[in-house]
């Protein structure tokens, strides 16, 4: 019974074409056995060494709730809220999105995306933060070097609210 499910996964994982210089971020939301489960709010961004935000990649929240009520809990993404969320006008096109179910989610950002095209070469961290209603909160960071055309493949694992967090860039050389 399990095999077909596994076989199905790659098609779910790679929804967009992934080419040289593109950035692929993988966010795993673990399946949790808890009495009351709500999909987590998740933010992912690229941070500079001084912790300032170089680019917001995504924020998944209850974006469709009436009267923007879903924004009430954005402050629970405490780090993201402090580093950039509170200064942004929401929702943000191409960044805001609905919450997602447990599983692995791959996001592809094209090399031509202004967030990447305008990213100066240097040291960065991919930061992913998850916060769950009546649940926990977790932040996972993956350091990476950007801009020399060299392939990048790195990952880290969360312990509770996040699973595998991956970052991948194909070489342009």
């Amino acid at each position: 019974m399990k095999k077909p499910l596994v076989a199905l996964l790659p098609s779910l994982v790679a929804p967009a074409a992934f080419g040289a210089g593109d950035l692929r971020v993988t966010i795993e939301i673990p399946r949790l056995n808890v009495a009351e489960y709500h999909r987590p709010y998740v933010a992912a961004w690229i941070a500079k060494p001084d912790n300032s935000v170089a680019a917001n990649l995504n924020v998944w929240y209850a974006v469709d709730m009436a009267n923007g009520e879903g924004a009430t809990w954005l402050k629970d993404l405490r780090l993201w809220w402090r580093r950039s969320g509170r200064s942004l006008a929401l929702p943000i096109d191409g960044v805001s999105g609905a919450t997602r179910a447990p599983g692995e989610h791959a996001l592809v950002f094209k090399a031509s995306d202004p967030r990447l095209a305008e990213l100066a070469p240097g040291e960065y961290q991919l930061v992913v933060e998850a916060s769950r209603e009546v649940g926990g909160r977790e932040v996972v960071s993956v350091p990476f070097t950007w801009g020399n055309g060299v392939a990048i493949k790195a990952e880290a694992r969360g312990e509770n609210e996040l699973g595998r967090i991956g970052i991948e860039i194909l070489s342009t050389q």
Binding site: G70, K75, S87
Partner: protein
């Protein structure tokens, strides 16, 4: 036996007036949250005079002394305000994005910081002198100070309270500073670090100002809430530096009660006079 004990207790209590009365009964304003996101948000606020932080167990505050300003400085109406037996409460509708300031102003009989209220006695003078090796005490006004010729008493000294102001801060969206700007009057804080942007493990810096000027050596005491679940309240006492700055490291995330005290020495009708001011704020340090 009992009479003597009572006398000793009375003496200790009297000698503490002014210096530590504020510690016996702590005044606080406690918002349900200090950092909010979204629009159309509400917070509930409790305010009380109590011995434990932040549990009402003594007296309410006078709601007439509560002032709330919106991020643009306009007044905010207290919603569902209730003056209870041991606490006061109200709610605030945060219709604008930015920082709201909730304060308890001195004044009003029976209110904290006001005449007849705990720790206040604003405008009234307390005098001491020594006669026959015993400390003598006097209470009065600038008028009775003259009419009773108190200046003739040997070593006569005066103390008075410049009032006690109590604050709390709530931010919806990005923090703003419009209504946080010092007015140049009484004891105030200049927030180098925004009061709703406090994080455990990151030092926060405030400047203590008296009548707009930095105060060196002002005492800044912080106590984390839930003290009734600890044997040692763990009060941290700091002092401002030469520029009036104090740097606070919040040991852990939580709600903190902060009390700043400063005094000025001058003369009143030729008598040395120490006027002390108290600034209290409830602050929330978040985990990062």
């Amino acid at each position: 036996m009992n009479t003597r004990l009572f006398k000793i207790a009375t003496f200790v209590a009297l000698s503490c007036i002014g210096a530590t009365l504020a510690h016996a009964h702590r005044v606080w304003i406690l918002p349900s949250m200090t950092v909010l996101s979204g629009t159309d948000q509400w917070v509930s606020v409790e305010a009380a005079v109590s011995n434990n932080l932040f549990f009402p167990n003594h007296r309410p505050v006078n709601l007439a002394q509560v002032q709330v300003t919106a991020p643009d400085g306009s007044p905010v109406e207290l919603k569902n305000a209730t003056g209870g037996q041991i606490r006061s409460s109200f709610e605030l509708h945060l219709e604008k994005q930015g920082t709201y300031v909730i304060s308890l102003r001195p004044g009003g009989r029976g209110g904290p910081g006001g005449p007849g209220g705990p720790g206040g006695q604003q405008g009234s003078l307390m005098g001491t002198w020594e006669e026959n090796g015993k400390v003598q005490r006097w209470r009065g006004t600038p008028e009775t100070l003259v009419s009773e010729n108190m200046a003739a008493k040997p070593g006569f000294k005066l103390r008075s309270s410049g009032g006690r102001r109590v604050f709390a801060f709530v931010t919806c969206g990005a923090p703003t500073t419009e209504n946080l700007k010092p007015t140049g009057k009484d004891l105030e804080l200049e927030f180098i670090t925004h009061p709703t942007d406090l994080v455990a493990g990151e030092p926060s810096t405030f400047r203590v100002l008296l009548d707009g000027k930095p105060v060196a050596g002002a005492e800044v005491a912080i106590v984390r809430g839930d003290d009734r679940f600890r044997n040692d309240a763990g009060e941290i006492t700091l002092h401002t530096d030469a520029e009036g700055l104090v740097k606070i490291d919040w040991p852990v995330a939580g709600r903190y009660w902060m009390e700043v005290t400063a005094s000025v020495l001058d003369e009143l009708h030729g008598v040395p006079h120490e006027k002390s001011f108290v600034y209290i704020a409830t602050l929330e340090a978040l985990p990062l």
